[in-house]
Symmetry: C2
Subunit: 218 residues, 2 copies
Amino acid sequence: MLSFTEENYLKALLHITLEVEHKNEAGTNELASYLGVKPATATDMLKKLKDKKLISYEKYGKISLSDSGRNKAIEILRKHRLWETFLYEKLDFTWDEVHEVAEQLEHIQSQKLVDKLDKFLGFPEYDPHGDAIPNAKGELKPSFKKTLSEAEEGTTCRMVAVKDNTVSFLKYVSQLDLGINTHIQVLARQPYDGSMEILINDSKITVSQKFAENILIV
Amino acid sequence: MLSFTEENYLKALLHITLEVEHKNEAGTNELASYLGVKPATATDMLKKLKDKKLISYEKYGKISLSDSGRNKAIEILRKHRLWETFLYEKLDFTWDEVHEVAEQLEHIQSQKLVDKLDKFLGFPEYDPHGDAIPNAKGELKPSFKKTLSEAEEGTTCRMVAVKDNTVSFLKYVSQLDLGINTHIQVLARQPYDGSMEILINDSKITVSQKFAENILIV
DNA sequence: AAATTAAATTAGGTTTATCTAACTTTTATT
DNA sequence: AATAAAAGTTAGATAAACCTAATTTAATTT
Ligand SMILES: [Mn+2]
Ligand SMILES: [Mn+2]
Ligand SMILES: [Mn+2]
Ligand SMILES: [Mn+2]
């Protein structure tokens, strides 16, 4: 049985390696800064995770998840996203509130609970942020790649996910009346700073490039 | 914020002091054995809980919960019993499976989650074992006291709770077709060993005194 | 190629929660 | 009242997860 902390290291490695396509490895400092600990602390844990064959790693080398480490990490990701969906769908949490609580719930150990929760929610495929939920077999759909900042002027697209999961970003998105499945018409892009004029629900708004880079579309 | 472990000590103290009416105190060894740790370990924690003013305690003396310690313990008990109810009512867990998972879920920190869960469940008053769920104000109904072993021959009573929460007991109870709200007719009590002949759902069965002492009735 | 910078590790501590073994205090029994 | 037993505490260790400061190795830049 893995500790709470070990699980968080595995999950962090999965997130880092999933962030950039075909990257598949992480550095000690990168991992430490992701987790908010010092590199020395991460080094200690890396030795432990290596002993348990959850990662492959050599002194001064890059880190990558082993098959069993990856499976474990995906299980945790699955629980995280199922719990977020539960909180959002059944308990009326807003999408900016779910993550913090799911960070705790994802560590509850009970295979039966995960399976029953999945069934109770109707085997959802996406969480409230549009992220794919790994299924019971551990299969994870590739994440959406195209951002609003890449949309052509004059086209219409549909928002399918967010890249940034911070409370402040999510609150801002909701405030603009934007959400998963909102249709967005791209009116114009300002060449100077990449800000965009878009039409949603018949109202015209302007968003920054930074903002547009965090909205995923199809 | 209390640690997982500190919470478990408070909860244990509440359980011990609730077990016997007007007892309201516990000993170090009693507490340690309840928690499955050594008395020396408990002594260490007692100093810490005293410093935090969660218990009142003097060296070599008895332990009792302070008001704030009791409130904290009742919050945890509330969460425990709400989660048991959730697992039982919404996820189709059996009543012998819920406790183990609730032991983990009771430590999730989110006031909003507790309130929303309570509402989602329709503000239940009793958990799957017939134990009262403390309400949002921290009010806890007194527990049932009369056991089947005390029922008069020839009378009919209704099962309202169980005293023993172990998996083996609960499974045995279900197997006998007994559950919360089952009506029980007491046919006879064997003077030799206190075993009882009872009628439930038109079938006659015999249960031991030990068994009857763990069935609470009205 | 040498020097500089960045990345990672090691050494030595701290805190929390646990243990064993030895000791002290309290309670019960003769 | 003396003794024995039970209850509880203290001292000293260990393991997990973290830290700072110093050091080593690898990667970049001149
Ligand atoms: Mn999340
Ligand atoms: Mn999410
Ligand atoms: Mn329980
Ligand atoms: Mn219960």
